[in-house]
Each structure stands twice: as structure tokens, then as C-alpha cells.
Amino acid sequence: MSIDWPETIYQKLKDVGVAQVSYVPDAGHTKLINAVIADPEIHSVSLTSEEEGVALTTGAWLGGDKSVLLMQSSGVGNCVNMLSLIKSCKIPFLTLVTMRGEWGEFNPWQVPMGSTTQTSFEMMGVHVMRINDPSEVSEVLAAATRMVFEGGSSVAILLSQKLIGAKVFEEAK
């Protein structure tokens, strides 16, 4: 039986009471973003650039809201300076990153950022976890949300391109 991993992620975020979800759209996050938009209890915040989500997370936490940032690996570099907030102010930070440029990638421009995603997070003090298989989603989300919202840590979960499936352009319907 196949696991509906975006639904699992959504349920795990609901379990811990996430109240704000910000995102720069990515094909791999489509289902999760749609679930969040449909949820009246969650503020879904569409961003123009990923670093806004780091700042939004900081403001949300100041006001007592748990927040999660969704993005694609190409947006991680945009966040580097803004991650100073997370480090300097010790803000609990959780981001879910769909990976490009690492597995069956057709677009070579995705490779430079995709291959340095983990390094970029780690140089700013963000702990990195990775999910390669749908069977891992539940336990990784449980571990990460506990570290972040109970422990105050900052964690990035990389959703591997193997999990998501390499992008294939579909014909317009």
C-alpha cells in the first residue's frame, strides 16, 4: 500500500498545532499547500521570496504561533542572512524543503543550489534531516516537531527528489 506522505506531513503539523504555514510554491509541495489553504485554522501565507518566511516565522513565534516554512531547495540560499534571526533570537524554526538537482534532474541550473542545500543550512546552524522514503515521513516529522517546538531547535527536513519523483513536464490539459 502506498503512503500518502503529504497527507502524513499535514496531519503531523496539525497534531502539534501549527497555526501559520508560509510557502514559495513547488510542485512537490502542491498537495500539502492545498491542504493548508483549505484549512481555516491555519494562516496560509504565500511569499514572494523564501527569506520572508524566515522573518514571518520569527514574528509568529513572538506572538505565540507555531509556524512552518515550505520551499524548494533553490530557495534555501535566499534565506541565509535572514536565518540570523533564528540563531540570534533562538526562534524555533521548522522548514520542509523539496529537493531538486540531486536525482534524475533534467535542469542543470538546479544542481548548484541543490547540491549545497544541506551545507547552506548547516553553516547557519540549522540541523538537517532527510527523508528518502515515504515510510520515514511519520517518524522524521515526529522527531523534528519535537526538537523544534519542545526543544526550541531549528530543523530543516529535506524531502529527497527520490521521494518526490524527478520533475516531468505534463502536457497542458
Binding site: Q20, L47, T48, E52, T58, G59, A60, G63, L85
Partner: protein, 199 residues
């Protein structure tokens, strides 16, 4: 031709005078120092970095605390760096969010280099274009007073105001030394003031 005679210190004092329980987020540099000097408060959050993030922090805070006014006080250079967040804010448009840009047309923190706003760029037009309908430019005390009168009101959409201030620079060594620099302490202080717990 706007006469840029407003003094930033007078303007900040006016903005903070009747703030009540409003939360205040300040952009790095002079905005942070002036708000700290003229009205330090447990509900203030001061940025010393993260340039371009002040408005988006205000948005997250405004969404989390919809009954409390959230005032972002920042500079024109800081706002330009976070210009995309104007569209993000327009889309959410919480009525408790007021963004005030102290526009002196220069980068005060780095030696008063000229900013785009001094000649060609109109931040109010940018905010309007982004979709913040209530976007205004203020050039005199009457305008400041009008803004202050409604600054703690919860409206049905966000407000964006550019206040043109003189490019006079101040010697602030003492003020800077007294401004909270410890972000973790500042974060905890705001959360305790709001009663949402330290962690």
C-alpha cells in the same frame, strides 16, 4: 515638492506617544535606536540585522495577535530590501498591521549614502502597486497626527505610510549602547509581555 522638514526624533516620539498595548517592530539602524531611546517597552522587538525582514516579522506577529495593533517602524533602505514582502502583506492584509517607513532618502547606518528613494523611487507607489490600498505619503505634522490618531485602531486592512523626514544625522553612541542587542532576551521579553510563555 514635499518639504522634508520633519525631524525623525519628533516623528518617532509622536508615533509612540499613545501606543497603548501596541507591539512595535523596528528595522535595523536608526529606527531601532530611536524607538529604544524614545520609548523602550517590553512590547518592542528591535532588529540589529536581518535587513529587509521588519515588515514580514510584523506580518507574522499581526496574524498571531489579531486583536493587538502591530506597528512596524523602519527605514526606506530596509523597506526597499524587503520590497517583495509588500505583496505578501497585501495578500494577507491584517487590519492590525501598520507599517511606517521613516524615509530620509539615505542609508544612515553606513555613512548616509543616497538611497533610490531620494531621487527616483516612490515606496508608497510600490506599496500601492503591491496591493496595499491604504498607502500614504506624509510630509507634515498634520499628516503625522492623522496617522497617529488611527495607529492603534484595528481596521479592515493593513496600512502603509511613508513619512518623509530630514536627512539630518544624529550622534547616537549613548543611545546605541543602551539598546537591547540580545535577540533571545528580546524575544523572551515580548513573549512574556504577551503572556504566551518564554518557550
Amino acid at each position: 515638492m514635499p518639504d522634508q522638514t520633519l525631524d525623525r526624533l519628533d516623528v518617532v516620539a509622536e508615533l509612540l506617544k499613545d501606543r497603548g498595548d501596541a507591539l512595535v517592530v523596528t528595522g535595523l539602524g536608526s529606527s531601532t535606536y530611536d524607538v529604544s531611546a524614545l520609548g523602550d517597552n517590553h512590547r518592542n522587538f528591535y532588529l540589529w540585522g536581518a535587513m529587509g525582514g521588519a515588515a514580514a516579522i510584523g506580518l507574522g506577529l499581526a496574524l498571531a495577535q489579531p486583536e493587538t495593533p502591530v506597528i512596524v517602524i523602519t527605514g526606506d533602505g530596509e523597506m526597499l530590501m524587503g520590497a517583495g514582502s509588500l505583496a505578501t502583506i497585501a495578500k494577507q492584509s491584517p487590519g492590525n498591521l501598520k507599517i511606517v517607513v521613516l524615509d530620509n532618502g539615505h542609508y544612515g547606518e553606513t555613512g548616509m549614502q543616497e538611497a533610490h528613494t531620494n531621487t527616483v523611487t516612490d515606496l508608497t507607489m510600490m506599496a500601492k502597486g503591491a496591493g496595499i490600498k491604504q498607502s500614504i505619503t506624509i510630509t507634515d505634522h498634520a499628516g503625522v497626527q492623522q496617522l497617529v490618531d488611527g495607529i492603534t485602531r484595528i481596521e479592515n486592512a493593513s496600512t502603509f505610510a511613508v513619512i518623509k523626514v530630514s536627512a539630518k544625522s544624529y550622534f547616537r553612541a549613548e543611545t546605541v549602547a543602551k539598546t537591547i542587542k540580545d535577540g533571545a532576551y528580546n524575544r523572551a521579553r515580548v513573549r512574556v509581555a504577551l503572556g504566551v510563555g518564554i518557550e
